[in-house]
Symmetry: C2
Subunit: 242 residues, 2 copies
Amino acid sequence: RHYSVRMDQRTGLLFRQLFESQSSTYTYLLADAQTREAVLIDPVLETVERDARLVEDLGLNLTIAVNTHCHADHITGTGLLKKRLPGCHSAISKDSGATADIHLKEGDRVTFGKYSLEARATPGHTDGCMTFVLNDQSMAFTGDALLIRGCGRTDFQQGCASALYESVHKKIFTLPGECLVYPAHDYTGQSVSTVDEERRLNPRLTKSLEEFVKIMNNLNLPKPKQIDVAVPANLVCGIQNV
Amino acid sequence: RHYSVRMDQRTGLLFRQLFESQSSTYTYLLADAQTREAVLIDPVLETVERDARLVEDLGLNLTIAVNTHCHADHITGTGLLKKRLPGCHSAISKDSGATADIHLKEGDRVTFGKYSLEARATPGHTDGCMTFVLNDQSMAFTGDALLIRGCGRTDFQQGCASALYESVHKKIFTLPGECLVYPAHDYTGQSVSTVDEERRLNPRLTKSLEEFVKIMNNLNLPKPKQIDVAVPANLVCGIQNV
Ligand SMILES: [Fe+2]
Ligand SMILES: [Fe+2]
């Protein structure tokens, strides 16, 4: 087994979790270590240079920069990445309403070498939210649909608590219990969870639909600081013309 | 292979990287998923409750909380963890001069279930720094000896640039290239590197010993804000009597 784990690192999946501290956003780099094809999930404008440099340092070929949804708390790095790394294409769900090179719908696959991410529509936080599931179902990138012991808010951007509840229960909690859950944000320094853990321990999503909707409709959160700048920018996949 | 990766998660090593944002410190939780025995590396006082709760939520039995060295930038959580989770013992190198239940020396092993961490003396940042290497050499917890594209400073706490250079080259760079490098800190949102990457890309440690010493002796960094509080506290393994 130890031998196979080593081999996995050398010839298999290359994986990096990256953090942007202003918006507490996680960006994920995945690559096929053999073909060097890479995908970046949820890049942030402020950390494009760090991410581009890592792609270059590791000798990777970034073909797709994809967003889980049209973010309200930061400007996406996809537009700038396309300039910085020619050959990189932007992707987002069709339902997000945002401009991008590739529009994804339920069941589409984002392929990099022998790996792929399956796009699952998980609306509720926004109507265009997607969860990306690695082809072996060992990892799910849940965006703001499912956070570690939490979930994204549902009080703007076509948010809908009952839709979010259904998305998480039907599209994420049905994955294998050991599937690792990698969210778009964490505000407590936690980096990963599992489907099994969130099924058992998520304080909101273990409740009934009725209770969940009540909780979500009574959060009374302040408006995100960057929303008026971030959403219009992200609807054109970030800053395209800089 | 996919099957064995899944099995690894279910019955093998449980691993969590945790972050404390004030001091940009990484804490690491490792456990044997079968026996539920767990080890925590470099816990921080401010995040003890988060970490203790995670240990409990995952049904783990924390037997050892270990520090890579006597930190100058934060107070260790080991003392408080011992109160919070009875059965937990503190550990640190003998050469650190700090109080602890267990004093480690070169070659000692910190065992949790079928796994163990090998203690390697890697002085230079402090004279008591240790790197902990997982028994299959797939992961190394390098403390402040080796950071991602960097290293700890050598201008206080018996720091010595030439000793650090030798420690990294003889005790860390000799590990397999694919061995994951998990540092005690990162200030740029990066979470992990590999031995191979640092051998090739570390801007300081790819230099000659002579150049390295020159770089380290001319950093002119400000004194860490917390040093006068943190070091005395950490010499008694944090707050023992709260
Ligand atoms: Fe969001
Ligand atoms: Fe240190």
